[in-house]
Assembly symmetry: C2
Homo-oligomer: 431 residues x 2
């Protein structure tokens, strides 16, 4: 299959910023972009689409989420974090079944595709169910079966390491490379050192990426310091976790030399502004991370602390909240936010063949419909993308050269059935 | 004209919070709501609309904006405040003509109506032009011809007081009460004490509302302290401004007793989170204001510091950023944000006959289309409204019982012509 988008605005990287080619052409052949330019290519494509009035940009990477939590969307609004987690979220999660996770995964992917996400990094239980939805939908995802261990006497053999590796071996690099499997440690405060150490070694043996929650709240860091006389960053470092390519969600409360440690080990950070703000975690020092050269991606976190999977909203937050916090309109630039939401996310997923619109890269592309009142005039595309656009302005989502969503229609998923199944499951569960 | 909405969810105030009546009826007769209930009313209405799957809520009040700045949407992204204002915004504004303000006003109202705004409080030049757009569109607005004075030797007679009062006398309480005119002082740093004093007295004589910018940035407050040994709040108080019902935009940097002074004089605050964050002004102490009993409305500010007029986005920010800043998930509640965006805004506009869905109140009503992937499940409506919804979920906007916007269609405005005129004017201006 080959396809030519014509008359589109096309967002390309230009040094450390972005610019748009106007009235331009983008050719897709198979899974790859094979042409970008303002002249019509000589090659003939099987199909042409007139994308006048539309902006093509790289697909968004939701770098940290818990997609099946759509089952718990907004369930504990306005509660303090402890109550939010212990009284509302955990008791419900304890009851969720594989079947409920399955329908929730399909449902979440509807939301992701409609708001321009071409790839996501997830952390939730029953990932085999989410894997099915990834397979059927055509989206890309990095899944994992994360480890948790509250019992200090648990042995490595009794631990979740075995099932986590099994999941890796069964699913990694399947669905034609769309589905990757990471290793994952839920967090310092939900694990034991000897298990983390053994698991980190296994990760290395399997040449895998490690996905963790790290230094999300002040109290998490304080408790860790009390218990281990180490920050969570130091704790993971001492256990060998960072000897793997690691991506760490949140990092709102790095202390002392933590950021330098992360930089030294090339640990990527997944920034989740909605969640950090809503549940009162605070402001991750993103500018400091970027200045150190840390790779920062962007994620929505789960929908119980957000309450949606809208990456355009997340980009808006990332683009303005740090400016407010540091009293500096230049603290974070729109172009940096676009990096976070695209190429940086792809990098931390281990997907270096995507994240920018360039010939040779995977055709993971979305389109914004510029024919909206709130998207005119346009002086700089990055500003309009991060600060004017809504998730609903996405009118096309393509992964590996295949259109999965266009103008409200899903090409690979049966929306009506997925919505119906999800609603039935939700009603049954909460009745 | 009478109209019955049936099968809708209807958001009503319940104590200090909100709840939704499900499968309920809302009757509109003329300009007013004459029925709300879960039983079908006995009365027959001229028209019935089946609003199953839709949520009716009070129309949103954009309590502080500069609508014609759509002409400058996102023009100075990523610039420090001084450069933003002095090098980009002011030079352009100096060249804008009445005709450009006129087409921009119509265009901005398209954006407002489509995102659920039924009333706005504006501050910009050539307000006569904006008044035309208010008249033709059917929206409500509080406009003003604000005063500015940089010359300490200017006399009251030479000042802008005369034209400001003329505008008040010509336009106040016109368009069947939809158009109100306020008095307005741009800010402390753009005015002279003797002019402000004289104008504040005139405001009292005219029994009008005063609209000002107040303590937006740290440097504004510091310069005022240096110049007058008073905070901007103390300065306005000493000049008699607060002897009028006053609404003050921003108030990010109240010092010392400033908030108590505002409370003493019943000054309302218009909170503009997007703008305060984007251009690095900071975090207004909203919870402290609410605890003191200060009336706080919500506004988008102009589109050069936002970059849109999307009140749903503003509500999302107000609902989460203060939680993050104060490390407290309960700092601002969703229900408080809905108050800010509706009834509190109506109050500071001097419109006590609207802002809530209640029989007898003006039928200023909007609907959200709940048939969206990202709006299910719903555990609490306020959470879904503030943290899951997008501006594009608004599917109906009614003012004074008249539907102005429904399902993408404008009933009073010629969208195609307005868009065309605006684009032509923009292209001509920036060529």
């Amino acid at each position: 299959m080959s396809l030519l988008f014509k008359n589109a605005a096309i967002l390309i990287r230009n040094g450390s910023g972005y610019e748009a080619l106007e009235h331009a052409y983008l050719g897709v052949d198979g899974k790859r972009i094979d042409y970008i330019g303002t002249e019509r290519p000589e090659k003939t494509y099987a199909e042409e689409k007139d994308y006048a009035g539309k902006l093509l940009l790289p697909g968004l990477v939701n770098a940290h989420t818990h997609t099946p939590m759509v089952f718990l969307r907004g369930i504990a609004d306005g509660l303090p974090l402890d109550q939010w987690l212990n009284e509302r979220v955990f008791p419900i999660e304890a009851k969720l079944t594989a079947e409920q996770i399955r329908v929730a995964s399909y449902y979440a992917i509807l939301e992701l595709l409609a708001s321009g996400v071409t790839s996501f990094t997830d952390m939730y239980f029953f990932p085999e169910e989410t894997a099915q939805a990834v397979r059927d939908s055509g989206i890309k995802a990095n899944l994992n079966k994360y480890i948790l261990c509250f019992d200090p006497n648990q042995t490595v053999e009794e631990s979740m390491i075995g099932p986590s590796i099994e999941f890796f071996e069964k699913y990694n690099d399947t669905c034609d490379g769309r589905l990757k499997v990471d290793f994952s440690i839920h967090a310092e405060y939900t694990n034991q050192p000897h298990i983390v150490k053994a698991y980190s070694e296994e990760c290395k043996k399997h040449d895998a990426i490690m996905h963790i929650h790290l230094s999300e709240s002040k109290s998490e860091v304080e408790k860790c310091m009390e218990k281990y006389r180490q920050t969570p960053v130091e704790w993971f470092e001492s256990l060998g976790t960072f000897e793997n390519p690691t991506c760490a969600a949140h990092v709102v409360w790095p202390m002392k030399n933590d950021l330098k440690i992360l930089r030294k080990h090339d640990v990527s950070v997944m920034h989740n502004p909605s969640s950090n703000l809503m549940i009162g975690s605070g402001f991750a020092p993103i500018r400091e991370m970027l200045d150190l050269g840390i790779n920062v991606g962007l994620g929505t976190d789960g929908t119980a602390s957000n309450n949606n999977l809208n990456m355009l909203e997340e980009m808006h937050l990332a683009a303005i909240v740090h400016n407010g916090y540091h009293l500096d309109a230049t603290n974070i630039l729109s172009s940096q936010v676009i990096d976070m939401a695209t190429v940086n996310g792809a990098k931390l997923q281990g997907r270096t063949d995507t994240g920018v619109l360039e010939t040779g890269k995977c055709a993971d592309i979305i389109a914004l419909d510029l024919d909206k009142i709130h998207l005119y005039p346009i002086f700089e595309y990055p500003s309009i993308i991060t600060k004017s656009a809504q998730g609903s302005d996405v009118c096309m989502t393509m992964v590996d050269g295949k259109i999965l969503y266009e103008n409200g229609q899903y090409l690979t998923l049966d929306k009506e059935k997925i919505v119906q199944d999800f609603k039935t499951a939700v009603k049954e569960f909460y009745k």
